[in-house]
Protein backbone atom coordinates (compact mmCIF):
# COMPACT_ATOMS: atom_id res chain seq x y z
CA UNK A 1 0.00 0.00 0.00
CA UNK A 2 1.12 3.52 -0.82
CA UNK A 3 0.17 6.44 1.41
CA UNK A 4 -1.02 9.60 -0.35
CA UNK A 5 -1.14 12.90 1.55
CA UNK A 6 -2.80 16.09 0.42
CA UNK A 7 -1.00 19.19 1.61
CA UNK A 8 -2.18 22.70 2.38
CA UNK A 9 -5.58 23.77 1.06
CA UNK A 10 -6.55 20.41 -0.48
CA UNK A 11 -7.74 19.65 3.03
CA UNK A 12 -8.28 15.93 2.61
CA UNK A 13 -7.06 13.24 5.03
CA UNK A 14 -4.34 10.88 3.82
CA UNK A 15 -5.44 7.76 1.96
CA UNK A 16 -3.82 4.37 1.29
CA UNK A 17 -4.00 2.85 -2.19
CA UNK A 18 -2.48 0.07 -4.25
CA UNK A 19 -0.28 1.47 -7.04
CA UNK A 20 3.10 0.38 -8.39
CA UNK A 21 3.89 3.52 -10.44
CA UNK A 22 2.90 7.15 -10.36
CA UNK A 23 0.99 6.58 -13.62
CA UNK A 24 -1.20 4.03 -11.84
CA UNK A 25 -1.70 6.38 -8.92
CA UNK A 26 -2.69 9.17 -11.33
CA UNK A 27 -5.48 6.98 -12.76
CA UNK A 28 -6.82 6.30 -9.27
CA UNK A 29 -6.71 9.94 -8.16
CA UNK A 30 -8.41 11.20 -11.35
CA UNK A 31 -11.48 9.21 -10.31
CA UNK A 32 -11.86 11.12 -7.03
CA UNK A 33 -13.56 14.42 -7.97
CA UNK A 34 -12.40 16.06 -4.70
CA UNK A 35 -8.79 15.39 -5.69
CA UNK A 36 -9.03 15.55 -9.50
CA UNK A 37 -9.55 19.34 -9.53
CA UNK A 38 -6.16 19.81 -7.85
CA UNK A 39 -4.07 17.55 -10.10
CA UNK A 40 -3.43 20.07 -12.89
CA UNK A 41 -1.90 22.56 -10.45
CA UNK A 42 -0.17 20.28 -7.99
CA UNK A 43 3.45 19.18 -7.81
CA UNK A 44 4.33 15.72 -6.51
CA UNK A 45 6.89 14.42 -4.03
CA UNK A 46 7.66 10.79 -3.25
CA UNK A 47 9.14 10.29 0.21
CA UNK A 48 9.83 14.06 0.30
CA UNK A 49 11.69 14.10 -3.00
CA UNK A 50 10.16 16.14 -5.85
CA UNK A 51 9.46 13.97 -8.92
CA UNK A 52 8.77 14.88 -12.52
CA UNK A 53 8.05 11.57 -14.27
CA UNK A 54 5.00 9.28 -14.22
CA UNK A 55 7.32 6.31 -14.59
CA UNK A 56 8.55 6.61 -11.02
CA UNK A 57 8.07 3.24 -9.31
CA UNK A 58 6.23 3.01 -6.02
CA UNK A 59 6.91 0.44 -3.30
CA UNK A 60 4.71 -0.53 -0.44
CA UNK A 61 5.20 1.99 2.37
CA UNK A 62 6.10 4.86 0.03
CA UNK A 63 4.58 8.22 0.83
CA UNK A 64 3.33 10.43 -2.03
CA UNK A 65 2.60 14.12 -1.33
CA UNK A 66 0.47 16.41 -3.49
CA UNK A 67 1.62 20.03 -3.29
CA UNK A 68 -0.88 22.62 -4.55
CA UNK A 69 0.18 26.18 -5.57
CA UNK A 70 2.30 27.89 -2.92
CA UNK A 71 2.61 31.42 -1.57
CA UNK A 72 4.98 32.01 1.30
CA UNK A 73 5.90 35.32 2.91
Amino acid sequence: MVKVEFLGPIGKSPIEVEASTLAELAEILKKDPEVAVWLEQSAVAVNDRMVESLEVKLDSGDRVSLLPPVCGG
Binding site: L7, G8, P9, L22, S42, L54, P68, V70, G72, G73
Partner: protein, 147 residues
Amino acid sequence: MVLVYDGPIDVESLLSRWYTAEHNSNYGAMVTFVGTVREENGIEALSFDIYRPLLEKWFKGWKDRLEKEGALLAMAHSEGDVPVHTSSFACAIFSPKRRVALEMLDAFVEDFKANAPIWKYDVIDGKRIYAAERSTPMAGSGLLAKG
Protein backbone atom coordinates in the same frame (compact mmCIF):
# COMPACT_ATOMS: atom_id res chain seq x y z
CA MET B 1 17.44 25.09 9.68
CA VAL B 2 14.44 27.31 9.13
CA LEU B 3 13.18 28.94 12.31
CA VAL B 4 9.44 28.31 12.40
CA TYR B 5 7.39 30.66 14.60
CA ASP B 6 3.94 29.79 15.89
CA GLY B 7 2.30 33.09 14.81
CA PRO B 8 4.14 36.40 14.16
CA ILE B 9 7.93 36.65 14.12
CA ASP B 10 9.56 38.78 16.81
CA VAL B 11 11.52 40.71 14.17
CA GLU B 12 13.47 42.97 16.49
CA SER B 13 14.95 40.18 18.55
CA LEU B 14 15.50 37.99 15.48
CA LEU B 15 17.48 40.62 13.54
CA SER B 16 19.48 41.40 16.68
CA ARG B 17 20.21 37.73 17.16
CA TRP B 18 21.35 37.26 13.55
CA TYR B 19 23.53 40.36 13.59
CA THR B 20 25.04 39.49 16.97
CA ALA B 21 25.78 35.92 15.94
CA GLU B 22 27.66 36.90 12.77
CA HIS B 23 29.13 40.39 12.99
CA ASN B 24 32.42 38.95 14.27
CA SER B 25 32.65 36.40 11.43
CA ASN B 26 34.30 38.84 9.02
CA TYR B 27 31.36 39.23 6.65
CA GLY B 28 31.38 42.69 5.08
CA ALA B 29 27.70 42.80 4.16
CA MET B 30 24.47 41.74 5.83
CA VAL B 31 21.22 42.07 3.90
CA THR B 32 17.82 41.22 5.26
CA PHE B 33 14.27 40.92 3.96
CA VAL B 34 11.24 41.09 6.23
CA GLY B 35 7.69 40.44 5.00
CA THR B 36 4.89 42.09 6.95
CA VAL B 37 1.15 41.44 6.57
CA ARG B 38 -0.55 44.36 4.82
CA GLU B 39 -4.04 45.52 5.75
CA GLU B 40 -5.98 45.05 2.50
CA ASN B 41 -9.13 43.36 1.20
CA GLY B 42 -10.66 43.42 4.69
CA ILE B 43 -8.36 40.73 6.08
CA GLU B 44 -7.62 40.56 9.80
CA ALA B 45 -4.67 38.23 9.36
CA LEU B 46 -2.90 35.89 6.99
CA SER B 47 -2.50 32.27 7.98
CA PHE B 48 0.11 29.77 6.81
CA ASP B 49 0.60 26.03 6.47
CA ILE B 50 4.16 24.77 6.09
CA TYR B 51 5.32 21.36 4.95
CA ARG B 52 8.51 21.25 6.96
CA PRO B 53 10.37 18.26 5.48
CA LEU B 54 10.39 19.77 1.99
CA LEU B 55 10.90 23.32 3.29
CA GLU B 56 14.09 22.11 4.97
CA LYS B 57 15.29 20.44 1.77
CA TRP B 58 14.55 23.51 -0.32
CA PHE B 59 16.29 25.72 2.26
CA LYS B 60 19.34 23.47 2.44
CA GLY B 61 19.70 23.71 -1.35
CA TRP B 62 19.92 27.49 -1.05
CA LYS B 63 22.19 27.36 2.00
CA ASP B 64 24.63 25.13 0.11
CA ARG B 65 24.49 27.35 -2.97
CA LEU B 66 25.32 30.41 -0.87
CA GLU B 67 28.05 28.62 1.03
CA LYS B 68 29.85 28.08 -2.29
CA GLU B 69 29.94 31.87 -2.61
CA GLY B 70 31.32 32.21 0.91
CA ALA B 71 27.97 33.47 2.16
CA LEU B 72 25.62 32.46 4.98
CA LEU B 73 21.83 32.24 4.81
CA ALA B 74 19.31 32.37 7.67
CA MET B 75 15.50 32.26 7.45
CA ALA B 76 12.40 32.34 9.63
CA HIS B 77 8.72 31.84 8.76
CA SER B 78 5.42 31.79 10.60
CA GLU B 79 2.91 28.97 10.86
CA GLY B 80 -0.72 29.68 11.76
CA ASP B 81 -2.26 33.15 12.02
CA VAL B 82 -0.23 36.35 11.54
CA PRO B 83 -2.30 39.52 12.18
CA VAL B 84 -2.02 42.57 9.90
CA HIS B 85 1.07 44.72 10.56
CA THR B 86 2.99 41.83 12.04
CA SER B 87 5.62 39.82 10.16
CA SER B 88 5.53 36.30 8.75
CA PHE B 89 8.83 35.98 6.88
CA ALA B 90 12.41 37.09 7.51
CA CYS B 91 15.72 36.15 5.99
CA ALA B 92 19.30 37.37 6.17
CA ILE B 93 22.35 36.83 3.99
CA PHE B 94 25.88 37.47 5.27
CA SER B 95 28.60 37.73 2.65
CA PRO B 96 32.20 38.92 2.43
CA LYS B 97 31.27 41.19 -0.50
CA ARG B 98 28.12 43.15 -1.21
CA ARG B 99 27.36 41.97 -4.78
CA VAL B 100 26.78 38.37 -3.70
CA ALA B 101 24.54 39.52 -0.85
CA LEU B 102 22.41 41.82 -3.01
CA GLU B 103 22.02 39.42 -5.93
CA MET B 104 21.34 36.36 -3.81
CA LEU B 105 18.77 38.17 -1.66
CA ASP B 106 16.74 38.95 -4.78
CA ALA B 107 17.09 35.44 -6.21
CA PHE B 108 16.35 33.74 -2.90
CA VAL B 109 13.21 35.78 -2.13
CA GLU B 110 11.81 35.20 -5.64
CA ASP B 111 12.45 31.47 -5.50
CA PHE B 112 10.96 31.40 -2.00
CA LYS B 113 7.74 32.87 -3.42
CA ALA B 114 7.64 30.31 -6.23
CA ASN B 115 8.91 27.10 -4.65
CA ALA B 116 8.86 27.08 -0.86
CA PRO B 117 6.16 24.59 0.28
CA ILE B 118 4.08 27.13 2.19
CA TRP B 119 0.37 27.83 1.72
CA LYS B 120 -1.28 31.15 2.43
CA TYR B 121 -4.81 31.90 3.58
CA ASP B 122 -6.66 35.16 4.14
CA VAL B 123 -8.39 35.33 7.50
CA ILE B 124 -11.70 37.22 7.21
CA ASP B 125 -14.33 37.12 9.94
CA GLY B 126 -12.35 34.34 11.56
CA LYS B 127 -12.51 32.17 8.42
CA ARG B 128 -9.46 30.85 6.60
CA ILE B 129 -9.70 31.31 2.79
CA TYR B 130 -6.97 29.86 0.54
CA ALA B 131 -5.19 32.66 -1.38
CA ALA B 132 -5.57 30.75 -4.66
CA GLU B 133 -5.15 33.68 -7.05
CA ARG B 134 -1.87 34.84 -5.38
CA SER B 135 -0.38 31.33 -5.30
CA THR B 136 2.06 29.82 -7.81
CA PRO B 137 2.14 26.20 -8.99
CA MET B 138 5.50 24.70 -8.01
CA ALA B 139 7.98 23.54 -10.65
CA GLY B 140 6.74 20.24 -12.13
CA SER B 141 3.07 20.81 -11.31
CA GLY B 142 0.42 18.89 -13.29
CA LEU B 143 2.34 15.61 -13.41
CA LEU B 144 -0.60 13.50 -12.18
CA ALA B 145 -3.02 15.18 -14.62
CA LYS B 146 -1.01 13.82 -17.56
CA GLY B 147 -1.49 10.65 -19.55
